[in-house]
Amino acid sequence: MANETNPLLSIQGISASVEEKQILHNVNLDVAPGEVHVLMGPNGAGKSTMGHVAMGEPTYTVDSGKIIFDGQDITDLTPDKRSRAGLFLSFQAPVEVPGVPLTSFLRAITTGREGLDMKRKEFRKRIRSLADELDMDRAYLDRELGVGFSGGEKKKVEMLQLLLLQPKLAILDETDSGLDVDALSVVSHGMKLYQETCNGTLLIITHNTRILEHLSVDRVHVMVKGRIVAEGDASMIADIDQNGFEQFEQAAANAE
């Protein structure tokens, strides 16, 4: 089991590619339980790819390295098993699933999960209170998953699932992007709630330093061209905010 000295998520020397094109190069990244990590980097650096590889998307081939989660090697597990092991990925671009009402989907993803397999009534109450918490109109619960939802609404649905599933670790891939001020504070509130109520661990991928203002960040990782090129404490955020990624790009070029 993980404890303070053992990371909850340990990405060890992961290289990954899609259709012969290598995207991730020997990525190492450890997140200890209860911590908040931030992954930053320019567009196209490979941040989302890393999140998807951690979750087990079959599109990507892992060429080398391994992923340890909660003391278990999950490198070869299918995504559904990783999810049931307590890993969560909030999608940068959540997909739509026509024909399936949101409530039915939420019901299906909680079924058979230890501690979450609630009675129907309880489940109803739970998702309604989460919708209220996230300032979502309850009517969305009866609509088809994602269909006709705005960008911001889709992100709220991701947060709702995070709070419903209470994973051990959540990778939030730009959950804050494209949100108006109100939605931003809702998502921010959701993250706090996740930390407080589930003792959550977060790996936040973002371009927006605002969302980090209300969180105590333990560690920052910078990815450029598929490599982790710098790491440091929360003070790096202000630095990147001011000076951008240029300073790291040389390091990435040298590593190639």
Binding site: G56, D80, S83, P98, S104, F105, R124
Partner: protein
């Protein structure tokens, strides 16, 4: 009774390539089924012979309106000769011959036709009449249950006189276990300005075969709405034919289907537009899972003289498993210039991004499939026209999806 093979069932009027194997269906009736016509109906028997009387009256009215009218053949014999004599397809020749007869009863078709209509009539015996007299509003519910070891068939004549409204719900279910066949063969007459709605919901277990045979006649401004929901049965054959005879008659057909396990579902629609400004809309929407097979033939025939007619057909299907078979042949036949015909089909697969998304939330392939099946049943529950049908949907739902009954009950409470 011995085993029977019903040939040439639900045939397309204008056949397509033979090798596609979808010009018609063959129905194998298993041996040993006794004939029965045991169904529940909640209204009194209508006037005997009402359908034929209504058709005869319609013929008289049509003749009076069309004095001196001669059907214009698609090609004269000389034209056909000039074109090499072979260009006149057997289909058009057939149409020309029937149309030229100006005999409405002869032009009235049943959707299954072939050996099937005859078989169903033979099993069911005399048709039961459901009637709405002129200006009346009436409704009826019919319940056909699978009878073990039987072919249980209802023959109905649904007759809505001018200016009437008639609403008929038909539930086809198998509340007790067994094997056999269920069926209905229904003739529908919608007089001038009549409004007819027929809803048929089928929730049989997969040890049953269901035959759904229907034919429509629509007078001036008649408006017919047909709702068909196919959720169960190992094999289902649905055949619907319609004659949009009167000016501005309208037929809407909404079909919902769910294929699961090893089910075979066969649909055939043939709507013939004779009247001016007639409109039809055939809309099918379904989910296919497991190794189910669906075939849909939809023919809209815009007959010469049906000026301003518009027909539209759509089939939206979601294939949730690699093992399913889906065939759709939309056909618009057109011998008239001033008409509009549209068809569209969208075939959706679960894309791999969607699969990954669902998997990332903990759903295996099997669980994802079950979720689509459940959603489709929930939809049928919500759309169910009456309590009997709702109960039937729940009965089947509980067999296919764990906890389905509780799920919909919860939704009920939610609405209350």
């Amino acid at each position: 009774m011995e085993a029977r093979t019903l040939n040439n069932v639900s045939a397309m009027p204008a056949p397509t390539w033979h090798w596609l194997h979808m010009n018609d269906a063959t129905v194998e009736v298993p041996e040993g089924l006794d004939a029965a016509s045991d169904f529940a109906i909640d209204v009194a028997e209508g006037t005997a012979g009402a359908f034929d009387a209504a058709m005869a009256a319609a013929q008289e009215a049509w003749d009076a309106e069309h004095e001196g009218y001669e059907y214009q053949r698609n090609y004269t014999d000389e034209q056909a000769e000039k074109l090499g004599g072979t260009s006149l397809s057997a289909y058009q020749q057939g149409v020309d011959e029937v149309e030229a007869s100006k005999d409405l009863a002869r032009m009235f078709d049943m959707g299954m036709g072939g050996d099937a209509t005859a078989y169903l009539r033979e099993v069911a015996g005399t048709a039961r009449v459901i009637e709405a007299k002129r200006g009346e509003h009436a409704s009826a519910s019919v319940r056909i249950a699978g009878l073990d070891g039987h072919a249980n068939v209802a023959a109905l004549d649904i007759v809505a006189a001018a200016d009437s409204e008639l609403d008929v719900c038909i539930t086809v279910d198998s509340p007790t276990p067994g094997t056999g066949l269920t069926g209905s063969t229904i003739r529908v007459f919608a007089g001038d300005n009549a409004k007819v709605t027929i809803t048929r919901v089928q929730t049989l277990d997969d040890s049953w075969i269901d035959l759904d045979d229907m034919g429509l006649f629509l007078g001036n401004q008649a408006d017919v709405q047909i709702n068909q929901t196919v959720l169960g049965a190992g094999k289902t054959y649905t055949g619907l034919a319609g004659d949009l005879r009167g000016t501005a008659a309208n037929a809407n057909v909404v079909t919902r289907y769910l294929g699961h396990g090893d089910q075979k579902i066969d649909f055939n629609y043939t709507l013939r537009h004779h009247g001016r400004k007639t409109t039809c809309d055939l809309y099918a929407n379904g989910v296919l899972a497991g190794t189910s097979t669906k075939t849909l033939r939809g023919t809209i025939d815009l007959i010469r003289g049906a000026k301003g007619a518009e027909g539209k057909e759509t089939d939206n299907v979601l294939l949730v498993d690699e093992g399913v078979h889906n065939k759709t042949v939309p056909t618009i036949l057109c011998n008239e210039d001033d008409v509009m015909g549209n068809h569209g089909a969208t075939i959706g697969h679960i894309r791999k991004e969607q699969m990954f998304y669902m998997a990332s939330r903990g759903l295996s392939q099997k669980q994802a499939e079950a979720m689509f099946v459940s959603a489709s049943l929930e939809d049928a529950y919500i759309e169910a026209p009456n309590d009997a049908t709702r109960e039937a949907v729940v009965r089947l739902g509980n067999k296919l999806v764990d906890g389905f009954g509780e799920l919909v009950e919860d939704n009920e409470e939610e609405l209350a």
